[in-house]
């Protein structure tokens, strides 16, 4: 049996009287590409926020690669190996494309603030390594020619890609993608699907993605969980789930 990368048990959170996520369970195996779908307001992004420590769950246990990470702060969870992108793009918009990725490399390449201010040899050595690594990542996403542009100057589709590149720079085991294809045209979506497959193979990744674009979901996800009103409606292999009458009702109404 494959190794469990992420296991979520009985996860719940309430905001005031609203049970945003209710007894949520999820198991993702290593190397899997998993989809989390559901109508608007079903609590998908809240699940992401719980997984990355933005919210603390009321009850439930989250285990990453066998280690309990429930209730840890966001930074610690990132260091444990979860990286994410955001539904509404959150880039460091006034910084260059290259610097955005270099921020992602922050915890992997270290030198002290003092060696930066005094420009000691260590600074130049590590900066050079960082530049090479960052350019390598940008090449994967075909962004290397735009490295010197400000992140906000990139067209929309490339901003989405840059966000993924930045997340990858933190060297995650598990990558969470929140609607990566939102606002993309069919061509861009197709290209994105190829990129996701490529990085999953080449970076040894497990991927969990939220998506509304069913073409993308059925095209690349192996298994799905459907969320409705904060509860798991059903889960299983993609084709089965998408043909489930309950799921169709939840999406299209009675």
């Amino acid at each position: 049996m494959a190794k469990e990368m992420l296991s979520v048990n009985n996860l719940s959170i309430s905001f005031g009287g609203l049970r945003a996520v209710d007894e949520f369970n999820l198991t993702i195996n290593e190397g899997e590409l998993y989809g989390l779908i559901g109508p608007n307001g079903a609590g998908k992004t809240t699940v992401f926020n719980l997984l990355t420590g933005v919210y603390k769950p009321d009850v439930g246990i989250i285990k990453l690669d066998g280690k309990d990470i429930t209730g840890q702060p966001t930074i610690a969870i990132n260091k444990e190996g979860i990286a994410r992108t955001f539904q509404n793009i959150r880039l460091f918009s006034d910084m260059s494309v290259l610097d955005n990725v270099k921020v992602g490399l922050h915890n992997r390449f270290e030198y002290s603030t003092l060696s930066a201010v005094l420009r000691l040899p260590k600074y130049f050595k590590v900066e050079k390594e960082m530049n090479e690594k960052a350019m390598e990542l940008l090449k994967v996403f075909d962004l290397d020619k735009e490295a010197d542009l400000k992140a906000s100057q990139l067209p929309y589709g490339k901003q989405r890609k840059l966000e993924i590149a930045r997340a990858l720079a933190t060297d995650p085991k598990l990558l969470l993608l929140d609607e990566p294809a939102a606002g993309m045209n069919p061509n861009e979506t197709k290209e994105l699907m190829e990129t996701i497959s490529f990085i999953r193979k080449n970076f040894n990744l497990t991927i969990l993605l939220i998506e509304h674009d069913m073409k993308l979901v059925s095209g690349i996800c192996e298994r799905l969980t459907v969320l409705n009103f904060g509860r798991v409606l059903c889960e299983g292999p993609t084709s089965e789930v998408l043909n489930n009458p309950e799921v169709i009702t939840a999406y299209l109404g009675e």
């Binding site: 990355t52 933005v54 966001t74 930074i75 990132n78 260091k79 990286a83 994410r84 955001f86 959150r90 880039l91 460091f92 918009s93 006034d94 910084m95 610097d99 270099k102 921020v103 992602g104 922050h106 915890n107 390449f109 270290e110 030198y111 603030t113 930066a116 201010v117 005094l118 420009r119 600074y123 590590v126 900066e127 960082m130 010197d148 930045r166 997340a167 720079a169 933190t170």
Partner: protein, 363 residues
């Protein structure tokens, strides 16, 4: 030399930083030659040191406002701490240490350390806040520092230091004792002699610290927090650590400016005229006119705005009115989008080289 030229052409930040340092050095050489030629007026000579400490203030405030992205309105408070630390040390160590450059160095390092320490302590509560709230609380802390410095009495005798917030008599000084801080009257009998050269060196050191910091792992972390705190956290950046770091360094540099300020006076007293919020706002104006986050801009804007009121003296009563009008006009010309577009068109007409490259790009 050739490698340096290559680096200048290929590395964009290296090029920009070199230009900034070059501007300061060229300005320094120009001023020195004017002084040696005997052309510079006395009032201008008096301004030179002012330029230096205001530049250090503006650059350090730009680190908080432009790079960290938090509006601080209490920057003069840290300058006040630096000024008083420097002046107290000067008074107490002045008799023992006769080698003045060393004494000055000690004053500057101590002023920076103490202002930095206060920056750190004040940063703990303040940096939990955001935006307007942060601005108001820094304003309050700035006023507290100023008022405490204006209320304190400090004296020294054979038994050591005596401190009181009440009055001079409460210190119970021996007859041989000496007053250092006389409450609202401040510290008298200062006679620092800081050369213009030393000040320019400090300006350069400040610029090197800030610019090197910005273009480093640390600076990127700070700017990432400014641009998007949530994303920075999700990317593994320790938000609290880097906010504190930037704020502390900014405060420490303001402390250096404070020591230089004290060095230009014979009597240092804390009042709303020098360390009040007026000063903090004035420095903020320098930063905003120079461009938030633009370090070189801060340097240039400071020089212009310190020089302007002096050059407008012939207008007597209308001086500050005209100053305000000029300020508004400069802000508009520099930062309103339509004025900037017109300015770019004008510049491209003047600059033939630029026009040519533009055409190439179009083809």
């Amino acid at each position: 030399m050739k490698t340096l030229i290559n680096k200048f052409n290929s590395d964009k930040t290296f090029k920009q930083n070199t230009i900034t340092y070059a501007i300061v050095i060229v300005a320094y050489i120009l001023c020195q030659s004017l002084i040696l030629g005997g052309v510079m007026s006395n009032s201008m000579k008096g301004l030179l040191i002012q330029f230096c400490y205001y530049i250090i203030m503006a650059v350090s405030l730009n680190l908080t406002v432009g790079i960290l992205g938090e509006l601080s309105l209490g920057h003069a408070g840290f300058m006040c701490i630096g000024a008083f630390t420097g002046a107290i040390l000067y008074k107490t160590l002045g008799e023992v240490l006769t080698f003045k450059p060393l004494l000055l160095l000690i004053c500057i390092v101590a002023g920076a350390l103490l202002a930095g320490l206060f920056g750190f302590l004040i940063g703990i509560p303040v940096l939990r806040l955001k935006g307007d709230y942060l601005a108001i609380v820094t304003l309050a802390f700035g006023e507290i520092i100023k008022n405490v410095c204006a209320a304190v009495f400090l004296g020294k005798d054979s038994k050591g230091f005596h401190i009181s917030l009440k009055d001079q008599a409460a210190l119970n000084l021996e007859d041989s004792g000496e007053m250092i801080i006389k409450g609202p009257l401040g510290i008298t009998g200062l006679s620092f002699t800081v050369s213009f050269t030393a000040c320019v060196i400090l300006v350069l050191i400040t610029l090197i610290i800030v610019l090197n910091l910005v273009n480093s792992r640390t600076g990127r972390a700070v700017m990432a927090i400014r641009d998007n705190r949530i994303a920075a956290e999700a990317t593994g950046i320790n938000v609290t650590k880097y906010k504190m770091l930037a704020f502390t360094i900014s405060a420490a540099l303001a402390g250096v400016a404070g020591v230089l300020y004290a060095s230009s006076l014979s009597t240092l007293a804390s009042s709303s005229k020098n360390f009040g919020y007026n000063m903090s706002i004035m420095i903020l104006v320098y930063v905003v006119l120079g461009g938030i986050g633009n370090i070189r801009g801060s340097v240039i804007a400071t020089v212009i705005l310190v020089l302007l009121p002096e050059k407008l003296r012939f207008l007597s009563n209308y001086r500050m009115l005209i100053y305000a009008v000029v300020l508004i006009a400069m802000m508009l010309i520099n930062w309103s989008p339509s004025a900037r577009a017109k300015r770019d068109v004008l510049l491209s007409k003047i600059n033939i080289f630029k026009k040519k490259t533009d055409e190439k790009e179009v083809q």
